[in-house]
């Protein structure tokens, strides 16, 4: 039950994109097409889950015993960077079309603050390894929900008469803002601890 509530909390009430405003660069730039939004969502979810599963033992078994907690940023970033590299090779090899739709954004996940944010939250909230993985998975799904709904709205918006200065990123930020308001309605539903 506890795991389920953390998962749901991470997807809705504590949505990493719409509650914490992390990972907005790809959220805005990759939400033009529903297909690339799906690809990006899957990639972010994968990287989030894998990196927090690696970062947890790195933190608790390597950094904590030697009192090196202050190195967590560097250590986490190295882990994230290499995970993305490996994932990039795997996707290029087995899913070339996904690889090309994601293009430069796949390597850009390396510097996506949502990924690092999830690992840091996991440490901050003293999760166990399994809870951490559940939380990361939930956050990834939550981020995907955000980008996929945003992309669906933007596809509908293609024929709308958007005022010129707002076209492109402008209206996207507004939509995402309204979505964030909507997600505020989930708060209090389930706790994250």
């Amino acid at each position: 039950m506890k795991y389920l509530s953390i998962l749901i909390a991470a997807v809705f009430a504590h949505n990493i994109a719409l509650r914490y405003f992390l990972g907005w660069c790809p959220l805005v730039s990759q939400s033009k097409k529903l297909s690339s939004a799906w690809g990006m969502g899957v990639a972010v979810t994968l990287v989030m889950t894998i990196t927090s599963a690696i970062n947890w033992p790195v933190y608790h078994y390597l950094l904590v015993p030697y009192g090196l907690e202050y190195l967590q940023y560097i250590a986490f970033i190295i882990v994230i960077a290499s995970t993305v590299q490996v994932l990039e090779m795997v996707i290029e090899r087995f899913f070339p079309s996904l690889y090309t739709t994601m293009g430069v954004f796949l390597p850009l996940i390396t510097v996506n603050c949502a990924i690092l944010g999830v690992s840091l939250f996991m440490i901050l909230r003293d999760y166990t390894l399994f809870t951490g993985i559940i939380y990361a998975l939930g956050s990834g799904i939550g981020w995907s929900v955000a980008i996929i709904s945003l992309a669906s709205i933007r596809e509908k918006l293609r024929f709308a008469d958007v005022p010129k200065p707002l076209q492109g990123p402008g209206i996207t930020m507004l939509i995402a803002g309204i979505m964030a308001f909507a997600f505020l309605g989930f708060s209090g539903m389930v706790g994250i601890q």
Partner: protein, 360 residues
């Protein structure tokens, strides 16, 4: 120990990740050998997977044009991919027309060879060869333009149409990049190739060619290009700006040598008198052949210059007449070419009958 522990721990993390990366690279990024079939079995070769199609072509001595050196910015290296090659990449889309996209035409510098492929390229590219050449002589024909004459070593002869170009392989950081230069020599010369090269500040190709000395070896591929004279009866209107004279020199000399009786005009514009190269040769030809009219023009008046002065289009306007049956052959800086195309269309020349060699 206290000082060392952060270093050791970080090294441990980074080191083990490096090992993971090496293993992953071995597992996923190395491809097996694949077979590429060109023009329904006319050529077939095996390459190691993972390279681009353009590299695969070059490795197997098939040379298709690529002016930008595989960066995906010139759009010349197109090939029809019938089998394999995956979906069209976002980097190719802007370079391909709708018709090309429908017909499976791809940019070969972007397509990666990962599986067995069937491709189709224009027949003439299978005839393109790679030449080993040696510099016979170099001469400064203007303060910034050098005439370089190459002797062909392997193969020993070249067949080309006046106006076509070759791609010189310019060494760069242990690799080579291709740079296109028009052939300035005549069609009838088969064992030598002459290029005229303008030195461009910081330009990779021009710096390399300008520093060449007698006896040095150079490699190039060719001939390429559709910039050659069509077989009609129309008057040939050649327009050259600066170093753009090179292909037109070849066209004028080759056609006159063949004894063609079409009227040939050459409008040639430069900034100053020193920049006019082959001026005396062209003047001589104009005196000798009645059907060849040579009109050089300088941007501004200069002492000891009694020829035309002004923009090349203004000068042309004085000579051309309405109702002439004309074909345009233009080579020069883009603004000059655009203005000339406008002028010629005003004179009723069909846009399809205006060919231009874009050297920008």
């Amino acid at each position: 120990m206290g000082y060392l522990s952060p270093i050791i721990v970080l090294d441990l993390v980074a080191g083990s990740l490096a090992i993971v990366l090496v293993v992953a690279n071995k597992l996923f990024a190395e491809y097996e050998d694949v077979t590429v079939d060109v023009n329904d079995g006319e050529e077939e070769f095996v390459v190691e997977g993972g390279t681009t199609l353009l590299q695969a072509f070059t490795q197997n001595e098939i040379y298709i044009p690529s002016a930008c050196g595989g960066q995906g910015s010139c759009g010349f290296c197109t090939a029809k991919v019938k089998e394999g090659g995956g979906p069209v990449l976002p980097t190719e889309e802007p370079m391909l027309t709708r018709e090309e996209l429908v017909n499976d035409v791809r940019l070969s510098c972007q397509v990666k060879v990962r599986e067995d492929m069937e491709v189709e390229i224009e027949e003439k590219y299978l005839e393109v060869e790679k030449y080993d050449a040696e510099v016979i002589s170099t001469e400064d024909v203007t303060p910034s333009i050098k005439e370089i004459l190459f002797d062909l070593k392997e193969p020993e002869t070249i067949d080309f149409k006046a106006g076509q170009y070759v791609q010189v392989q310019v060494p760069a950081d242990g690799d080579t990049v291709d740079r296109a230069y028009s052939i300035a020599s005549e069609e009838s010369v088969h064992d030598k190739v002459m290029l005229t090269v303008q030195l461009i500040e910081g330009g990779l190709g021009s710096t390399y060619l300008h520093e060449l000395e007698e006896g040095e070896k150079v490699e190039f591929t060719g001939p390429f290009g559709d910039f050659y004279v069509q077989d009609t009866d129309a008057k040939i209107i050649g327009v050259a700006g600066g170093v753009g004279l090179a292909p037109l020199r070849s066209i004028v000399f080759s056609l006159l040598e063949k004894g063609i009786d079409r009227e040939i005009w050459l409008f040639y514009g430069t900034r100053t008198r020193e920049d006019l190269y082959y001026h005396d040769d062209l003047q001589e030809l104009a005196d000798e052949y009645e059907n060849f009219k040579y009109v050089p023009a300088l941007d501004s008046s200069q002492p000891e210059w009694d020829g035309e002065v002004g923009l090349i289009t203004e000068v042309m306007d004085d000579y051309l007449e309405e109702g002439w049956d004309m074909e345009g052959y233009l080579c020069g800086p883009p603004p000059m070419m655009e203005a000339t195309i406008d002028l010629l269309t005003d004179y009723g020349v069909d846009e399809d009958d205006i060919l231009f060699d874009d050297f920008s």
